[in-house]
Symmetry: C2
Subunit: 461 residues, 2 copies
């Protein structure tokens, strides 16, 4: 946990950003897996953590913008709770730890919210992303379930994004920690790879490493010889000689800051010539973007720089023909890189995604494109000092997508469909690092881990 003052000053700033009313913060509940009491590991809501730091289930919080009053809402534990879950500080003690003076039992929350509404004051809340949040708001306000999405407070959303987007020094320390654990997970995975093993055996190494460092996964592990499936969570394939493994995974620290690294490595100890050729293009795209990072550049331009590098590289291999700028403008490279270049990262791996990507990554005058690839670009606007982002270009050979486009004759003047056959079963390559935007450029988060072909191969010798 950060210092009491950190949380108090974050809240003080927030109070100046919203005009009137109550701010309602919904902490998360335990989440039942196959029955109520068999829960997934508890994950607190990130915005709740950002302003109130308390990492326990079943809490809420309120800020009265005008009076400045703050309440932690929750119930005291019973002796049965002590027997099953261990002793805990009182709610008052927990609140004091993060600089909040007042507490309120859960049963008093409904009256407080309804009282405020009937006095004509706003009750601001953020977009509910767990169904229990929707049920709670319905219960506390009597708003119809179907009306709740329209009642979300855009003013509150913008105020939170305006704080959480700029990472402070103490947050950078946590992010470095998260990325370093993530790096160790990758080094261990690459070393554990061996033809004949199953993907899940390497997954065990990866997950075990994350937990051994006191945290857990920041997101579900992607580790597959079918790297062309972008978010592949199947781990039942055997690692066959000749194939590539794409690993996209990262840790979240005990304080819930995330790391997000992707590396791609061969099942064998060395890359094949074909693998090297594709890998090198992706590596160049990754490095070109990193060299371009600075305040003021749009992330859309960074994405297009990656696409341009991919196009140039694939032209060199004869898979594309024609004018690079034309192809980028038309979205031709989406056949090979049908996803966005990256996203903000912080307490959430896609930071603040629950608040709405368009509020985070876009602005007035910068609308999201509908083109394949660009429609998944989570961040497009100008970069600013203090932003932390992932840079994750890739090249994939997705049989179903190639087949679809070819059958439609799509971009056939550029794409040399007949030359794609040798890449069936290739899979995909993605290379991803995390960067902090600084005053005059960008800085790698975490210590460097192997990234070039030579460095990756050296891990296996």
């Amino acid at each position: 946990m950060f210092s009491t003052n950190t949380y108090a000053s974050r809240r003080n700033k927030l109070k100046t950003q919203v005009s009137e009313g109550l701010l309602l913060f919904l902490g998360n509940e335990e989440s039942g897996m196959n029955y109520t009491d068999n829960t997934y590991h508890f994950r607190q809501d990130s915005t709740f953590l950002y302003y109130f730091g308390l990492d326990k289930a079943g809490l809420a919080a309120i800020i009265d913008v005008e009076s400045g009053e703050e309440w932690i809402v929750g119930d005291e534990i019973t002796i049965d709770d002590v027997i099953w879950a261990g002793p805990q500080p009182t709610l008052q003690e927990q609140a004091a730890r993060v600089g909040v003076v007042k507490t309120l039992p859960k049963s008093a929350l409904e009256a407080k919210i309804k009282g405020s509404l009937s006095a004509g004051r706003s009750v601001h809340f953020l977009p509910p992303y767990r169904p229990e949040h929707t049920l709670k708001i319905n219960h506390w306000t009597d708003w119809a379930l179907s009306d709740i999405p329209q009642k979300v407070s855009v003013e509150f959303v913008r105020a939170v994004i305006n704080q959480r987007s700029y990472k402070t020094d103490e947050e950078i320390i946590e992010l470095n920690r998260a990325v370093n654990i993530s790096g160790q997970m990758h080094v261990n995975a690459i070393r554990a790879t061996q033809a004949g093993k199953y993907e899940y055996e390497v997954v065990g190494t990866v997950h075990g490493t994350a937990r051994s460092e006191g945290g857990d996964l920041a997101y579900p592990i992607i580790l597959s010889v079918d790297g062309q499936t972008l978010h592949n969570h199947y781990h039942g394939n055997r690692l066959e000689s000749g194939r590539l493994v794409l690993g996209d995974f990262g840790a979240e620290t005990a304080m819930h800051y995330a790391g997000d690294i992707t590396r791609t490595w061969p099942v064998d100890k060395t890359f094949t010539q074909q693998q090297k050729e594709i890998y090198q293009i992706v590596l160049e795209a990754n490095i070109n973007v990193i060299n371009a990072l600075r305040p003021g550049i749009t992330y859309l331009d960074c994405h297009n720089l990656a696409w341009r590098t991919v196009v140039e590289g694939l032209k060199g291999l004869g898979l594309l023909e024609g004018d690079t700028d034309e192809m980028v403008a038309l979205g031709v490279p989406a056949l090979f890189m049908p996803h966005g270049l990256g996203h903000m990262i912080g307490m959430d791996v896609h930071d603040m995604e629950n608040l709405g990507e368009n509020y985070i990554g876009y602005r007035d005058g910068l609308e999201r494109s509908k083109l394949l690839g660009l429609k998944s670009l989570r961040m497009a606007k100008e970069l600013e000092t203090g932003f932390v982002l992932t840079i994750e270009p890739g090249i994939y050979f997705i049989p179903e997508l190639i087949q679809l486009w070819e059958s439609q004759g799509k971009f056939q003047e550029y794409i040399q469909y007949d030359k794609l056959n040798p890449y069936r079963g290739f899979g995909g390559v993605r290379i991803e690092d995390n960067y902090l935007i600084t005053k005059d450029g960008a800085q790698l988060i975490g210590d460097p881990i192997p990234k070039t072909i030579a460095e990756i191969e050296a891990l296996r010798s």
Copy 2:
């Protein structure tokens, strides 16, 4: 997945157990962790798996009891789904794999359910344990949210319990597999234990082992030097010489059958004299119950046999004085073992707990006790051939509970409170195995793993 015939014949039997109407099976959705798309690992509903076997998010199923018709309800995937999540069989192909002929798009479900209700037919559903289930039922029926718990079909609940309680040979094979992985997790944990490490380092070994075998955890890992906290999910303590580690964890296989083992071992390579004395009593309780297992005995009697063994043992150490039967009848041993002896296990670690413990473990004429310990006894009724259960007695020294009872003068004629001081900081001991009830006794699930003091110590040498 089991054979097509397995699922079809389970459903055919079910149809004979419910009198009329539609049976509605709610498959689970992906469960967002800190935003919608950052999900916990997907866990299908166990009853859905039992009758329909399909391990994918976003499905439902219906059986028309009178006509015998069956539908898998879901939507076909798009090219975007292929890009992000990989190619999949069509819904029709998936349904055929489990012997279901008809499919229905999700959009058609509401009309089907409302049509059935307005024709005066029942729509049977099981108790919703995830908030999205409640929201769906509300949407499909227009029943008020607060009315939904009362609308649960007890007839459907009883019919499902009447099938899932009796494990078939093919299920026993899966349970053996789950328990064997769980055993390996324990052996690895005991071997990885070393003074100076942190609990989470051993937790990493445990979780990594589960995933390396292709499954995942059956429930959150309990691994703590504070074993007196029964469901302790905190792993930040340092393993100090002189303390005990209580580890309660198990794997679930890729087919979602669970193992559930507890072992207790010293941080050091050997137990202290005090630890040995308590351990031996718990081991005797464990073995006494196992020897008593057979069809016809009530599990309540088994629980009381464990309590009796604990009382006798603690009398031997001078911590209790008086008549054993009296103490058991009054619930005195709950100070040391404030939980039930065990529970059914199958696809759920507490099998079918979402259907209601009292339907599973109790019957007319056998009401649940309100005494500490017994109120947490999930299973009390007569054992039958084919039941699979955990046997998990324990002894704990819970400072807060001892202090509470002592301050109330509770059972002071039996409990020698002044003799409990040397056990402050002892923690707890629990020893748990999984047993199948057979025609003439019981059979251990999985291969034996170290259990006696000598066997545990031998793992460390």
